[in-house]
């Protein structure tokens, strides 16, 4: 049965929003990272210069993070009818050139273009521009040579006027020699040699024939579901969100699926909690739905505390309406009347944007009484965290919202039975909720078609550390760590050999280089002694010291231990003392055994996830990098001093010696 009233109400709402205004626009990536790189100044500058240049119908817009964190700030430009062009590392002078050359003159700005990630295989449309980049690391940069060679060749064919050749900043392809991309079809050629240039112009540009021997056919590894709107819409505008299809899932659910239908779809999708533990979301919702109570709550856990992780911040800053829609859908499915966003106070921009999203959704009737005429009431509010890592744990988070210190409670009873103010409560992570509307609109099966084994769908990772291009990536589950590091993020910084990849933050472990080919799934990471965690992925190179890193993570957990249970409070401290002793070169072989014993005790006896997982970084480094611990123990104080000096100067051990 279809509730016609809801359907008509939503259609009326969409009708009021209207079509996206035609014409040119410029979008500036204004998330915290972008703003730190100067995006807010760019925004004002672009507005002023567009007005000065008489470009009155060019809209200067705000967007969330595009994901390419290493080349912030980013600006996307669309001029009438043409595909949009993304620019990176845009400073004041580049912004001026964008206005003068691109918006006024219709020519791209050289050296700053980020190539589209689409890979074309046919040349139906005439070539309008050519992007070039030298992606090999050895030798000098040959991009300039490639650019001028193609330009000369085009001249010989009388095409130089119509087709611009532009050096790209990044093409999403690494270590594949000279790369050429023909726009707008996105046919991409790799390992181009100088003798191929004439062929490319002659055959591909003039005769629209694809050169199969050079064609790059591998699809981009990224598959953006959760990040579908990040960078593509103004996060502070509900109209933009509605135009992009946000809240369609809510309207469909209220009109036809019903709460049970939503839960069925979630189960079919195989979505598991993206906060780290990986509990199936559909099952969680059903458990909460089954609990009888006068009131129920849903909570969005946005207390992203893992150092080195910024997925949740980027999602909240880039697409707050989709997360809100996910929370409303969760509320609808479990039968809750109220939802809370629990957001870190350290993320003021995310707090402001979610606040704005809630207010505008309430004003339009997507929140509050009788949502879309369905007769169902639901409202959402924000509660701020206050800098306690342990509050990412469900029961501690609940205590914090209630206004108490964030101490965890033993489970069971689980929050789905007895949670906030003793009522059944369903807590989901930001990324989980952001995936929900997509699943409702596209169907659970479409989501489950991605991924492998028991890990379905996609996962967002914040890849940072000693990687060439630190960024936000979203890949299907089952992608290997190697592909993420080398084929999406461009490999290691300065080409120093990689030592390991840390996942899961202070609760995770280190995957050594020899296991990089492991497909990323919840189970595989666990088998390697790490965890999926919320999605931080830190690349460490040969210069990083594993004993030092293990101590860094443990110190974090010791500082953040709430002190309620002894295994975590005392155990963590004791292990840290032993690690410090070893790192000063005063350790003894039996200390390692002692560390293992205490760690096992913490894993088994701690009350909550913090204490249970705090030993993971130590145990996994002991497992794979025991030689580094032994080097400290055997080398004594003189070795320790050298190592410390090397770390302080950011050098390798050899250079420091």
């Amino acid at each position: 049965m279809i509730n016609r009233q809801v359907k008509e109400e939503f259609e009326r709402m969409l009708g009021n929003v209207g079509e996206e205004p035609a014409g040119s626009w410029v979008r500036v990536g204004m998330d915290t990272g972008g703003i730190a790189a100067g995006a807010d100044r760019l925004f004002t500058q672009l507005r002023e210069e567009c007005a000065e240049a008489g470009l009155l119908d060019t809209a200067v817009l705000r967007a969330g993070s595009f994901g390419y964190a290493w080349i912030d700030p980013l600006v996307e430009v669309r001029t009438d009818g043409k595909p949009s062009v993304l620019y990176g590392v845009v400073d004041e002078s580049v912004a001026t050139r964008i206005v003068n050359e691109h918006l006024s003159g219709g020519r791209m700005v050289d050296g700053h273009v980020i190539a589209p990630r689409r890979r074309g295989s046919s040349l139906d449309q005439p070539v309008t521009a050519i992007l070039v980049q030298d992606t090999s690391c050895e030798g000098g940069d040959k991009s300039l040579f490639l650019q001028s060679s193609i330009e000369d060749e085009l001249k010989a064919h009388g095409l130089a006027e119509e087709i611009q050749v532009v050096r790209a900043l990044d093409m999403g392809i690494y270590q594949e020699g000279l790369v050429v991309q023909l726009l707008p079809s996105c046919v991409t050629y790799t390992n181009v040699l100088s003798r191929d240039i004439a062929r490319i112009v002659e055959e591909s540009v003039s005769r629209k024939a694809v050169l199969d021997d050079l064609l790059w056919t591998r699809k981009d590894f990224q598959d953006r579901i959760v990040l579908r709107h990040c960078g593509n819409l103004d996060p502070e505008s509900l109209d933009a969100a509605l135009r992009a299809g946000v809240y369609q899932g809510l309207a469909d659910s209220l009109a036809k699926h019903g709460a049970e239908g939503v839960i069925e779809e979630m189960k079919a999708s195989g979505l598991r909690g993206r906060g780290g533990a990986g509990f199936p979301t559909g099952v969680k919702w059903q458990l909460t739905r089954k609990s009888e109570a006068e009131r129920k709550f849903v909570i969005c856990n946005a207390d992203e505390g893992d150092p080195g992780a910024f997925m949740d911040r980027s999602i909240l800053e880039g697409d707050p309406h989709s997360v809100l829609e996910g929370l409303i859908l969760a509320g609808y499915a479990v039968g809750a009347s109220k939802g809370f966003f629990y957001i870190r106070a350290e993320y003021p921009l995310a707090v402001a944007r979610v606040g704005k999203a809630i207010a505008s959704a309430r004003k339009l009737g997507l929140l509050g009484k009788n949502i879309l005429g369905s007769g169902w009431d639901f409202d959402a509010e924000i509660r701020l965290g206050a800098g306690a890592f342990v509050c990412g744990e469900e029961t501690a988070l609940i205590a914090s919202i209630e206004g108490k210190r964030g101490s965890p409670e033993p489970r069971p009873p689980y929050p789905s039975v007895k949670g906030l103010w003793g009522m059944p409560t369903c807590i989901n992570n930001v990324e989980t909720l952001a995936a929900v509307p997509w699943i409702i609109v596209n169907g659970g099966e479409a989501y489950a078609s991605r991924g492998m084994e028991k890990s379905r769908g996609t996962k967002v990772f914040a890849v940072t550390g000693k990687v060439r291009n630190p960024q936000l990536v979203e890949v299907p589950m089952g992608t290997t760590v190697y592909d993420i590091v080398y084929n999406v993020c461009g490999g290691v910084q300065d080409d120093i050999p990689i030592k390991g990849v840390q996942t899961g933050g202070p609760s995770g472990g280190i995957i050594p280089e020899k296991f990089l080919e492991t497909p990323v799934t919840y189970e595989n990471l666990q088998a390697l002694g790490s965890i999926m965690g919320s999605g931080g992925m830190l690349i460490m190179d040969e210069n990083d010291c594993m004993v030092d890193v293990a101590a860094f993570y443990l110190k974090f957990c010791v500082d953040e231990s709430c002190g309620k249970c002894a295994p975590c409070r005392v155990g963590g401290y004791q292990v840290l003392q032993l690690l410090i002793k070893i790192s000063r070169g005063r350790g003894k072989p039996e200390d390692l055994e002692q560390i293992r014993r205490i760690c096992t005790g913490m894993q088994k006896a701690s009350l909550c996830g913090l204490g249970q997982t705090a030993p993971n970084p130590i145990l996994s480094s002991l497992r794979y990098f025991a030689d580094e611990y032994n080097a400290y123990i055997e080398g004594g104080t003189s070795y320790a001093r050298k190592r410390k000096r090397a770390l302080a100067e950011g050098k390798s051990l050899k250079e420091a010696v």
């Binding site: 509660r383 206050a386 108490k404 550390g465 890193v549």
Partner: protein, 173 residues
């Protein structure tokens, strides 16, 4: 630090009590309001004054000890006034690996204070934070709510000089 003795209720600045009342007005019917009101107080003053806690305890009936339990548990809340300019060095893992420690050491030696302290003239407060989520720009810092990224120890001298110059010229921005 020794806490000053608390003044009797009637001697507390009426402006402060008016301020607390405005928060109570806004939050009284909402659930889970204590931490949110403490956030409002800290946003306004830069720390949570004891007098404000006392007024809040008086008005809400929540014992002062419970309020202090919350204030001392969470890292974010401060009980003493911060320096005029706040320099926060991010010590998230990405920043740590890329040399946050070197930034901190440089700042400590230039300012002559250690992490968590304020200079004698109460001008600059130096602290480390867990992670500001700008790992793409590591190592990063937040200076007076402005995030700076991809820093070197050699940038620190200019940064401190910049704060001092702005202060001398009387321009807070």
């Amino acid at each position: 630090m020794n806490a000053a003795p608390l003044p009797p209720l009637e001697e507390i600045d009426p402006a402060l009590s008016e301020e607390i009342n405005s928060y109570l007005e806004e939050w009284k019917d909402k659930e889970g309001n204590l931490i949110m009101m403490l956030h409002e107080i800290q946003d306004r003053h830069g720390f949570v004054p004891r007098e404000a806690s006392l007024l809040l305890a008086e008005a809400t009936g929540v014992p002062m000890a419970r309020i202090y339990e919350v204030l001392t548990f969470y890292n974010y809340f401060k009980l003493v006034p911060p320096g005029k300019h706040n320099v926060m060095v991010c010590n998230g893992t990405a920043c740590y690996l890329k040399g946050a420690g070197r930034l901190l050491a440089e700042l400590e030696s230039r300012l002559g204070i250690s992490d968590g302290d304020t200079t004698d003239d109460r001008l600059i407060h130096l602290e480390t934070v867990r992670c500001i989520g700008c790992c793409g720009m590591a190592p990063a810092m937040v200076v007076d709510h402005k995030t700076l990224g991809k820093l070197n120890p050699t940038d620190m001298a200019g940064l401190i000089e910049g704060i001092r110059k702005r202060e001398e010229s009387g321009n807070d921005q």
